[in-house]
Symmetry: C2
Subunit: 192 residues, 2 copies
DNA sequence: GTCTATATAATGATAGAC
DNA sequence: GTCTATCATTATATAGAC
């Protein structure tokens, strides 16, 4: 495998396991089976590795955005979307656990992350309105209320896994399903 | 002021501003206007400072628990409780931003934090049922559904401020109010 | 590209004087 | 209780050989 990719994969695994603060470039190099000098040949510093992992995540989100919908939306689609979201977040969980600190360290990264995130948020907004038009959802007329519901759903999707970890619960399919249920619970009163 | 307290106050300010990883014991000592050696006279290490700050927070939560209710609950009471919650969390925001990492580092701390948190969660459950008995809320019969609603409210209260910080928004009264509104939005469909 | 060796700086932590 | 001085350790980062 490409050494650069091996470093990134190893770093991701270690960051997810122990957090960015506890993992040094030496740790990453050792776990990747290369020398510290070699790591610095491929990356200028730890921050650059983190930035690259964010970039990977951004690409995943952007890929997800562009999947075309070939049928009228049904509730099962929403479930699929939410599950996919949880899985991606779980893959890059260290980023979501440490979001405030990581975004503060790196303005460039912050800008691109928030831009992609905003597009995801807007996409979710569209999805809700597609459900509304398909007669599956009966959304309130007040756009402010719809926006609030959306913010709640977004908050759950972004922090549910962190919440599980705080509780010391093992993150598995069943717990992810509970996270899906929570989001459904939010919109359940507005089902047509 | 008591040096020990001064260290804790200074550490809290710095942790909130820059995160625990970026703040060393030397930084804390310098900002507190004392020598590094003096800091180590009062605390064995940085972890002990963090643990003590958690302990302070636990005491605040426990104090909040024991406030007696002298009248039948109305919605304004819920608002008051939620606002108080946000303010406390904001005061100790570094803990909530870094919860996963901090609880993992320290088993003892983890146990006591989760115990106090669980009591808060149970207290919220009671509060909901008091609203139900007072005829303000019309909760679903299914306890699983009630539990889900509660989990959603809890998630919002614990992560709303972090979410604001991720978005780069200034945390002020107006934004906290929006966080209160979100929780009200969750239970709004169940108002009697 | 990859390694070994090493420079530099920071951090956590202690000893001993006052 | 508080300071200064100091140390061991670790982390980041670079130089130069292969």
């Amino acid at each position: 495998m490409d050494t650069r990719e091996k470093i990134l994969d190893t770093a991701l695994t270690l960051f997810n396991k122990e957090g960015t603060a506890a993992v040094s470039t030496n740790h990453i190099a050792e776990a990747a089976g290369i020398s510290p000098g070699n790591l610095y040949y491929h990356f200028h510093n730890k921050q650059e590795i983190i930035r690259e992992l964010f970039q990977r995540l951004n690409i995943i989100w952007e890929t997800l955005e562009s999947i075309p919908q070939d049928h009228a939306p049904v509730m099962a689609d929403l479930k699929t979307v939410i599950e996919a979201n949880y899985k991606i977040i779980w893959q890059y969980r260290f980023l979501y656990r440490e979001l405030v600190a990581l975004l503060r360290q790196d303005t460039e990264l912050r800008t691109s992350f928030l831009a992609v995130r905003q597009r995801g948020f807007d996409g979710f907004h569209e999805l809700l309105h597609m459900f509304s038009e398909a007669g599956v959802l009966d959304l309130p007329d007040d756009p402010k209320v719809v926006n609030e519901l959306q913010e709640i759903c977004w908050l759950i999707s972004e922090f549910w896994l962190t919440n599980l970890e705080v509780n010391g619960l093992k993150v598995n399919e069943a717990e992810m399903q509970r996270g899906v249920n929570l989001i459904f619970r939010v919109i359940q009163p507005y089902l047509a």
